[in-house]
């Protein structure tokens, strides 16, 4: 699989890069938890954490570093510095995520195509997946908008939040607990309904690309020019498994900074650890990110699908509980 991916990008003259796993800052996404570690500038200062001891103060000789949840920020800085199209195969870390489809340390393929719009990138994704699955009879790639697919499985409009309709749907579907869990939070409602009622049906032995995500789930994607309620974001599914996520990348430094602030506010509200936004990314965006689209694909899950495995543990050398 890895050889196939590298060959695919070599043929298209996309440069392979490597970026740091340890970084001074981290994404502000309220839904992602990260690993924190401490960097000591001189060797004698390394000490084991002890129970009951105050964590060491931040000092010039001790710095907090984060294991990256994705190489996105570092790769965007390369893009802004004029790297051209790039890809990376590397580890990413997400704390607290473990299950049949999750391991807190996993392998990610992420690539950026300078000058590509999202539909162009989707063509390339389909080519890559088709190539990797050649020999296995994968059906024709499907492309559907979030609104269409959501509506066809639920009858609800994902772009306009109607608390009554969403609650009624949950009640009718035997998911009445959703009312308590989601409250009046549109984004959580969408996550809940989509992951329970839509996603399991996506990509029956085929790659299914869902585009046009609601604006409240935009993160680092651009708002669509025609429809301000949606963003140029795409998600990939095969056999109901989420494989990856792509954007027509937001290049507006001010807008990005605003979104970071908004997410930090949400973190504060939910009493999650709050950290400073990545100033180096903002300044890279200020200096100018070229028009580009990018996507990240979880390679462990892709390998699960290629090998017909039922659990991510089957494709990892040592899953977290045995690492």
């Amino acid at each position: 699989m890895l050889a196939g991916i590298r060959q695919f990008f070599a043929e298209r003259s996309v440069l392979e890069v490597e970026t740091p796993l340890l970084g001074h800052s981290i994404g502000t996404d309220p839904q992602l938890e990260f690993f924190i570690t401490e960097y000591c500038l001189s060797p004698g200062m390394v000490c084991m954490p002890q129970a009951g001891r105050e964590p060491a103060r931040q000092s010039p000789l001790r710095q907090t570093l984060f294991l990256q949840t994705s190489p996105e920020f570092a790769m965007k800085r390369l893009l802004a510095a004029g790297s051209g199209s790039i890809y990376q195969i590397g580890k990413a870390f997400r704390n607290g995520e473990s299950g049949r489809f999750h391991n807190p340390e996993f392998t990610m393929l992420e690539w950026y195509r300078v000058g590509f719009t999202l539909p162009q990138l989707m063509d390339e994704i389909a080519e890559l997946i088709a190539g990797l699955f050649s020999g296995q009879s994968l059906q024709k790639t499907q492309r559907v908008s979030y609104q269409d697919i959501f509506c066809s499985f639920t009858g609800l409009d994902p772009l306009v939040f109607s608390y009554q309709d969403y609650c009624a749907f949950a009640g009718d579907s035997g998911l009445s607990e959703a009312v308590d869990i989601c409250g009046h939070d549109h984004a959580v409602w969408l996550d809940f309904i989509f992951s329970h009622k839509v996603q399991p049906h996506l990509g029956d032995n085929a790659l299914c690309m869902v585009y046009g995500y609601p604006a409240c789930q935009s993160s680092l994607a651009r708002i669509n020019e025609q429809c301000a309620l949606t963003t140029d974001r795409v998600e990939l599914f095969i056999n109901g498994i989420e494989l990856g996520n792509g954007y027509y990348e937001l290049a507006d430094a001010e807008e990005q900074s605003r979104r970071f602030d908004k997410e930090l506010a949400i973190r504060q509200q939910h009493q999650l650890p709050v950290f400073v936004k990545d100033k180096r990314l903002i300044s890279a965006l200020e200096s100018g990110l070229p028009e580009c689209s990018g996507v990240a694909i979880g390679l462990d899950r892709l390998l699960m699908l290629l090998s017909g495995s039922v659990s991510i543990d089957d494709v990892l050398s040592f899953p977290i509980h045995r690492a």
Partner: protein, 189 residues
Amino acid sequence: MASYSTNEFKAGLKVMLDNDPCAIIENEFVKPGKGQAFNRVKIRNLKTGRVIERTFKSGESLEGADVVDVEMQYLYNDGQFRHFMVPDTFEQYQTDEKVVGEAGKWLKDQDSCTVTLWNDAPLAISPPNFVDLAITETDPGVRGDTSGGGGKPATLETGAVVRVPLFVQIGEVIKVDTRTGEYVSRVKE
């Protein structure tokens, strides 16, 4: 009782849900790459035996349920209650037919079985997977018949009715799988 958070849910854990003791059967972590994390949990209500699916926000927690399985000896049926005893302590428990349910038809005096206790009160009874019981009533046997063929109904000493091969006679002891209610073999005395 301690409480357990969704990431501690694993098969077999006993928790309280809607005021009933339940056992976790399966726990699936569901998380969109850029979204809220949920745990989709399959749970058996230990009172009713019904299996339901319920979703929790990851990190939510449930109160643990004081549920234990204890090996006990079945003593007797006094007409209203059935009586059980813990062999080591001679501690006795009594339950009505509602709790005993289907298990009742496999219980023979002195046999051992598993009693599930919730807050020290019997919640459910499970018989051993295989029990040996004598046949009290069945049609006369046919010599030379093998275990293939259709079989015939036979009433056992506990009142249960199972299908047995034609050659099995009244008074013989047979082994029965209590999970399926099927005849397994004859038992040599």
